[in-house]
Symmetry: C2
Subunit: 230 residues, 2 copies
């Protein structure tokens, strides 16, 4: 299950999709492509019997997903204190407009990862992961900016969860209607959606003469086909 | 706390932001504007000691947030079986590029709602909420499509959570750097991001002569200023 040479994860009772199993997948490459495209994930943990769901940045490194956290953050205290974790990533790909209210839907790609989070304590490894978190958003950016100092790396927690017990769920395509509804005289189809970049806003404190690089003026997320396994 | 005539929610121990309290808000109008703009939320619940985080569609109706669910879905069984709920909504507004790796950030608006979910059982009320779920995505659309039949409404669960114990968190603006880093010769600033609509894809089964309406060809999410309280 944990061996990255396997292309498909083994479903468990907890990751087996009971509803709409046709949309489910345990394909490692698909799961990785969703994790690599998404800018944020939502991490769930339990604190005193209450589930908390908080947005966070992530980066996939091989077969684990990594995060940073404040040392004193509730999420770190709970997750390292033994709370199981659930990390969910969702990309909204389109609005599915049907001829009947109930068959409206969304096209999406999502991943759910279950497991235990552990902390990365080696300062050099932490520094590499903190730089990878930057490169997840803007590939190569970490090579152009000041690296984390040892002090900064020590003051920041880095957490990771193995991508072993995980599943993807994907919906694509047009609406699925009741046969009788296809005759209704209303537009039906899909409005594609994507997170897109607007015109960059330079820092008011930017020194004169520094033009935005192409990765700023032409920013875009990686497409599924550009994702590699590693 | 539950009275909608109050403009500010009362923080509880669970919704008080311990980290970066300056980004926190309990302003009802701000919280509502984020819920109304977001297409999806992530709902957290506990099943057998494990937190699950699942994406879902939502609509705000007054001072509660509503969802639909399959009758047999794990989320419904757990939430109605007593699991506390956490509903989190996150809008990614921009990528904050700093001159140092560690000060990279994101501009975002998020809401966390804690509470207990209850089920709507009245068929007429369920039908209204199912139509409101469609109108949340495309305002007015429910008036143009076939309404849920009584059979459809009965076969679908509708859940809601009161928006009482909730908080927003917002980051805006340029990077916050260490003073010494401002002199580094690297571009810094914000790449704004937004979920945008692409070219509509008609259903292959669309009858000839039905043109896409303006809400399809010019689709956009509501902006914060267009959100009302009700």
């Amino acid at each position: 299950m944990a061996d990255e040479t396997h292309d498909t994860l083994t479903p468990t009772a907890r990751t087996t999709l009971k509803r709409q199993p046709g949309k489910g997948s345990y394909d490692r490459k698909l799961i990785y492509s969703i994790l690599d495209e998404a800018l944020i994930s939502h991490i769930g943990f339990i604190d005193d019997g209450v589930p908390f769901v908080l947005p966070t940045n992530h980066v996939r490194i091989g077969d684990r997903l990594c995060f940073h956290s404040a040392i004193a953050a509730r999420r770190r205290v709970c997750l390292l204190g033994g709370s199981p974790a659930c990390v969910t990533v969702t990309l909204v790909d389109g609005l599915v407009l049907a001829r009947s209210a109930l068959h409206h839907s969304m096209n999406f790609r999502s991943v759910v990862i279950l497991g235990q989070v552990s902390e990365v304590t080696d300062t050099q490894e932490k520094t590499r992961i903190l730089e990878a978190l930057v490169d997840h958003v803007v590939p190569g950016r970490s090579g152009e900016v000041r690296s984390p100092s040892v002090k900064e790396a020590r003051a920041t927690a880095v957490l990771s969860i193995p991508i072993n017990e995980a599943s993807a769920k994907v919906r694509t395509g047009p609406p699925n209607e009741e046969e009788r509804d296809y005759a209704l005289p209303v537009w039906a189809g899909v409005i594609p959606t994507a997170l897109t970049a607007g015109t960059p806003v330079p820092d008011p404190k930017l020194a004169p003469g520094i033009d935005p690089p192409a990765y700023v003026t032409h920013y875009q997320r990686p497409s599924p086909s550009s994702t590699s396994q590693s």
